[in-house]
Structure formats: C-alpha cells, structure tokens
Symmetry: C2
Subunit: 253 residues, 2 copies
DNA sequence: CGGGACTTTGAGATCTATCAATAGGCGTGG
DNA sequence: CCACGCCTATTGATAGATCTCAAAGTCCCG
C-alpha cells in the first residue's frame, strides 16, 4: 500500500500523526485501523490474500470540497471509500445539476467506468479512500473471483437504488421526495447508531439530489415540521418523530 | 435446454412450427437460430461450454402484454432476452408509474435480484427469452468467471444509463427529455440498420419513461415537428431530420 | 361502416420555480 | 467582545411549466 497526499487538498487535510505513523506502514498496520475493513473491499478477500489488495492500493485523504474525479475526464482510477461522505453528480452546461448519489465507508466509486468518468465525485467532508489503478484493479478482479462477486453485488445494489430514485424523480411530489429522503438517511444514521438522521449535506445538495430547488426543500421541511412528523434539531440534524406517517407519504399514498 | 410455454400467454403466442421443430431440440439446434447468440449471454462463453448454459435455460415465448415478473413477487428467475422488447416499471399505489427501462435482445432482466423483484417486466411485443433458475444461474456464475465478468459489465452499463436517466428526470425540461429520448431510439434503431427511429411503445409508455403525461409528450413532439427537427411518419416511427439540433436540445443548452 | 383505443389539441388549474427580502449562524478582524 | 461580512436557510409573492380535464381527430380492425 502506498500513501499519497491528495493532489487536490491542502497539506492540513492529513494530520501529521497519520503521516508519521503510516510512512512506511505495511498493510496490517493501516488496514488494522481502517474503519471499513469489515464492510468494504477487504471483506471480500480472506486475510491471506489481503496484502495483494493492499499492495495495489494508494491511501488517499481528500479534504472537504476536493474532487475524486471529474465528469468527462479520462478514467484511470477506481476508489473504495473508507471514511467520510462524497456526493456524485452530473451537470448540464447551463449549471443545472443532478446529484446521483452519496457514498460512504464500504462503498465504491468509478466501477465499470468507460474511457471517461460519467460523473463528478466531490468530498462532503474529509474523505479517506483506497485508490486503485484501473488496470491493476482489473487484474485483481481476474485473479480473485470473490472480489468480482463483491463488485457485481455492489453494482446490482446501486442499480436497484438508482431505479428507486428514478421513480422518485419521475413521479413523486416534492413532499413525497423529502419524506423518502429523510427515511433513507434515518436508516443510514441508524446503522451508525444515531437517534437522529444526520445529513452530511446542505439544502443545495438535497435539492440537487431530489430534483427540486432549495426553496422547495426548505418549504417541505417546514410542512413536515409543522405537521409534527419531524423535528429539525439543526440544519444537518433531523429527528423523525412519526416514521409511519413519513413512510406513508414517501410511498406516495 | 427445456421448452416451456409461457404461463401467461395464449398458446397462439408460439407458432406451431416452432413447437414442432424444437420439441426435443438440443442446444445446437435452438441456439443455432437464436438472434442473440452473438450479443447476449452466449457470447461470453466459448462454444465448448455453451451447452452448460443451454442445459440450464428454459426457452420461453411471452406474448405482447405478458408479464415476465411482477414487482414484489418472490424472485426465482433470471432472464436473458433473445427477441422483442420489454418494458420495466415501478408503480406507486395510486397508479403513478415510472418506466425504468426498455430491454431487448442481448440484455438481461432480474440480475442481482433480492428476495423479491423490485420492478415489473412486461412484453411490448412477442418476447423470446432464456429463463434460468436463480440458484442454477448463480452456480454458473461461480463456475464461469467469463460469465460473471459479462454480468458485471452489463450491470455497470445499466447503472451508467440509469444515472443519465436520473439527470433527465431530475433536471431536464419536457422538450429536452423528448429530444434525448428520440436520439436514444435513433441510436438503437440505427444498430438494427433502420433509417427511422422505431419506437416499440406508445405515448403512455414514453410518458411513463420520461416522467411526463401523454399530453405533454404529444405537445413536445408537435413542437419538434413544427420546428422541422423530426418527421412523424407514424405513431411508432419517427425520422430525425436535424440530429445536431436535437442533440443541442437534449444536452440542455 | 362502426366501435374502440390511441393521439392530438385546447382551456384552465396546480405545483414548483423564480425572484426578492429577511433571518440566522459562523468566522474574522478590529 | 462586538461588529461586520459572508454564506446558508427560511419565508413571501409572483411567474411559468406541466398537469388535469375535456373534446375532437385519427387509425385500425372487425
């Protein structure tokens, strides 16, 4: 495993202690403290083969706002996220933007990329990833069927999620979209043991994800709040009071 | 390979001559005349291994309007389309529908399905498929890495298409959606060597695919026609006169 | 020739976007 | 410590794109 400072981020994005302790680290040292060892790529391989994965990986820290990849650029890397949140989005030339997903620890970015990346990936907070050269990762896929199975499962999951989002974008009302969105993040936060839905993004990103404007997002949150279905603790923290009602709305009934 | 009459279709959906000639066929006979031998599943395996695929496959003919799978039903099968068009869609309880895709020869339906199908698949015309028991197909995936690679590539392709559609549904205007849609089908028809974009679906399905109403679809087609960018030969046949202009509109400029 | 399904066209209603102003939070610098 | 500016979120008023409802036209097929 090699350590590479993000080309995009300031040096301050990586804490000095990390640099020191990891300078000449072997896989066991870094992977041993990696938050996504049990959920990400590494989960697919037995311990004995793990070092082959680690050998091909470059460990990267991307600061908040940094880009992992840019839509239209030649695709050379594949990423496995270990920490933090990233948003994936596509832009139209006049500035309209569609966020196509948010990824976090255990998820992948750039799977099955064509010659060029088809979307941009931007860090919402400090993001840690393992970066692989595409060719080298393809070699690994060839050599380890378990890895390929993991990638297939991940791609199928992402596809199902994308299809659910198509239903949301094509047919749900603004309020229904918001309800669905909050439930999604309530689930995600639940996994992390939180009692509140912690949103790693602001209203602009929510709007771009739901195909709405920030004003409409704000108005719908107000409606849900006034109906006492949610409680807005802070801009980024929402408590869901009535899950059932929210589910009913989100399902479009 | 086993021949199974679709449970959903009338007997008339399968022509008698097919039934006769295929009743006790071996793989070479059926696959030898299969339109998608070079583009679908079979393309992934060398000829020597093809019979293993054929042994696991049930050949099915589904009549127009017949269902291959229903959203919410336990998922037991995986399909490889050999002929015809099918639409995939998700419904909300009040009747709103989102078509999430159209599949034809060489494409797959039901990949990576969870316990239940996450969408319904309906034949737009007479559809021919190879149907596989899920478990048996999983076994094949294990045994043939080339098959798994093919599935991964297919899933990644579908994912990229879905993400492009999310941009369309979330951010494009009705006219932009129509322009994108027509170009998509112009490409598809081009592959088949046609000079016109041949649409295998009516206005209702177009509307449900683009997140619009049939009236809006109709009005936008009229606008494009009056601008002389397209020529509507028949309800299902559209000639694109000005590709460049349509591309400009579809790209959202 | 007639019936039914689908498409097109029109008029008005509705939802969301746009434009505009206010409010709140946060870091910086005086 | 407070004032200021900046950025984001909220709220209000209006505009506009698309939907809804309604009717007429078209095509296919019996």
């Amino acid at each position: 495993m090699t350590f590479v400072q993000s080309e995009l981020g300031p040096v301050s994005a990586m804490r000095p202690d990390q640099l020191v302790s990891l300078g000449t680290a072997v896989a066991s040292v870094v992977c041993g403290t990696c938050a996504s060892r049990d959920v990400g790529l590494c989960d697919a391989l037995p311990g004995a083969d793990l070092h082959q994965l680690a050998d091909a990986a470059h460990w990267l820290s991307i600061p908040k706002g940094g880009l992992l990849m840019t839509e239209g650029q030649p695709s050379r890397h594949f990423f496995s996220v270990n920490h933090g949140y990233a948003k994936l989005y596509k832009d139209l030339s006049d500035g309209r933007r569609q966020v196509i997903g948010f990824v976090t620890a255990g998820q992948f970015i750039g799977l099955g990329a064509q010659a060029c990346y088809s979307f941009t990936a931007e860090a919402l907070d400090e993001v840690h990833v393992c970066r692989f050269e595409q060719r080298r990762f393809d070699d690994l896929l060839m050599r380890f069927p378990a890895l390929e199975q993991k990638m297939l499962a991940a791609a199928c999951h992402d596809l199902a999620v994308a299809q659910a989002q198509m239903l949301l974008l094509g047919r749900k009302t603004a309020l229904e979209r918001l309800a669905s969105f909050l439930l999604e993040w309530d689930d995600r936060s639940m996994v992390e043991g939180a009692a509140v839905a912690m949103l790693p993004m602001g209203r602009r990103d929510i709007a771009d994800y739901l195909g709405l404007t920030i004003e409409t997002v704000s108005r719908c949150l107000t409606v849900l709040r006034k109906r006492r279905l949610i409680k807005i603790v802070a801009d980024y923290d929402v408590v869901i009071i009535d899950h059932a009602a929210l589910r009913t709305i989100g399902a479009g009934e």
